[in-house]
Symmetry: C2
Subunit: 339 residues, 2 copies
């Protein structure tokens, strides 16, 4: 299984990231040795996917406490780094969650000798990483029963191995189904503007021998109408207490189209994606990104100079359109999140 | 108003086309002096839009009868050219319609001296062109009442001046509303894979001073949910007797999204787009286009090598999703086409 994020070495190590902006044409691994490099990598989507940026940020905090004299000073550096990293992407809750967890962990160990402090923080970052991988596998195990022989599954964006520590979220049930010999096709929305479906999902699924059919986002309705799709699975960036789910822009449209065609629509996400402090989706902050992702995102200018652009990076799918949320603890109805 | 197609000169003239594959970055006008150049221009979408390719094909037939000895020989050339041109794009009915009309017209004038025959065929091609411009204006006049001050209108693909002889189909009501001082915003779907919305519609609307907001196709549901859109108008490539409408891929999805948000969905098309020989949309032939439009359509490769692609160029919107069809004769309900 592909690893998008890896800590290399021990406390004096570095973070290695598979640069997802270069896929599928170039397989480039970046070595990040400074927090600001991790910030940049998250900001410009070299590493992306809610769980993956949480894990990358945790290792980023480990970088912030290297070559520092004394645990108190190290902890101050870590807090500064935490503030920086949290600002890199506002919508994904896992980023803030991972950073806050490590901050609290470090704060409680400030009296340790610095070498021990560093070792403990690294161990905790690794724990977040391993927990994430285990969660993904559990999501896969709970969701694998949805995948039947000969089925067509549609997915949007990339909630796969590249977005997590391993296996992915939306793609975890597909990987486990494939491992147990089930044959099926996956219709992959290319996912404009940044083409995570075309560049990342199509790539990682085909790397694992899964039958991929790439389509434009505008073709999802048609493949549903033609009876090619029996199931939709997508990931999530944040899920409110009532089950309303923020995910990549276009997800809400896919959910409406699935409903119109009577196709079950599932969200796959670890429970760290739940934000029970938000009653519903209207409170989820939505990130707006730059015009150039749309007008020049593909190597050449594709729109007139000076044109006005609207570029929300996420949308919110109302709980009513969601058949179930596949978590590491089982498949929940959106209404069961608060139990 | 922009002219995408123009006949320059008299019977020994040539066809000038605005190369729409080069917009919006380069404004290049092509001079076609051979039928095969017109065929190529239609095939690779240098000229596109159902009415426009009908007009271009008519002038293409005029090219086929230049420098020919005798009307009988000219007519044979014209018939050969007609067969060639009809094969350039299978879905748009106007192409076959224009070509057949000119073929019948020429066939009835085979006894004329060749110079008179050539003049008559050119005059008939010009008549198709002028009728098209007049039809577009009439569509605009019938549809202009749908556009209210402060409204948001969403459109998909390009059914504008570039797709017709003038004013366009879906865009004609917008141009007429703008001419009479109404202010409104137009949300333009970029329209993957070939980006006719981003490259053409955004360009021609902003050339005429209309307030354009460019979005990705995947954002249409979100702008509807946010209450930014009160009306959808799209064009059509072919309309079956029951009102089922073939148009650019993605139109069917937009129609479903409009319905889910209670937004009226109008098709604007001249009656030459009606194909009453087809009982419903299932009989409309759909063109499938090459993989590279999706995987390499934008200047660089955006999907893994060897990936399977599904690329239908059109979809069919069922009549039940269509609020009305704006024609040169007024706004019809889909059920009223056969009257």
């Amino acid at each position: 299984m592909i690893r998008a994020i890896e800590w290399i070495g021990e406390t004096e190590g570095y973070l290695q990231l598979l640069d997802q902006t270069r896929l599928p044409n170039d397989i480039v691994r970046l070595s990040c040795r400074e927090v600001v490099e991790v910030f940049e990598a998250i900001k410009v989507l070299r590493v992306r996917g809610a769980p993956a940026i949480g894990v990358a940020a945790a290792y980023g905090l480990v970088l912030s406490i290297q070559r520092v004299d004394g645990s108190r000073r190290a902890c101050e550096q870590l807090v500064k780094a935490a503030d920086l990293l949290k600002g890199a992407r506002p919508t994904a809750v896992n980023l803030a969650w991972a950073v806050e967890r490590l901050k609290a962990f470090a704060g409680a160990r400030i009296s340790l000798p610095v070498a021990e402090f560093q070792r403990a923080v690294l161990a905790e970052a690794r724990k977040i990483d391993h927990e994430n991988a285990a969660m993904c596998k559990a999501i896969g195990q709970h969701g694998v029963g949805l995948i039947a022989q000969g089925m067509g599954v549609l997915t949007h964006c990339n909630a796969g191995a590249l977005a997590t520590s391993e296996y992915g979220m939306a793609l975890a049930p597909l990987y486990l189904a494939r491992e147990s010999g089930v044959d099926f096709a996956v219709y992959v929305d290319e996912t404009r503007p940044l083409l995570q479906g075309a560049r990342l999902t199509a790539w990682e699924l085909s790397q694992q021998g899964i039958n991929v059919v790439l389509i434009c986002d505008s073709m999802a309705a048609q493949v549903m109408k033609e009876g090619r799709v029996q199931l939709v699975i997508v990931g999530a960036d944040r899920i409110a207490a009532n089950g309303d789910t923020a995910n990549k822009i276009g997800t809400y449209g896919v959910a409406l189209l699935a409903k119109a065609h009577g196709i079950p629509f599932y969200v796959a996400a670890p429970s760290s994606t739940f934000d029970l402090s938000l009653a519903n989706g209207t409170a989820i902050p939505i990130e707006y990104r730059g015009d150039q992702e749309i007008t020049e995102g593909l190597g050449k200018r594709t729109a007139p100079e000076g044109i006005k652009v609207y570029n929300p990076a996420f949308d919110v799918t109302p709980a009513a359109l969601i058949s179930g949320i596949i978590t590491e603890n089982g498949i929940l109805k959106p209404s069961e999140l608060q139990k």
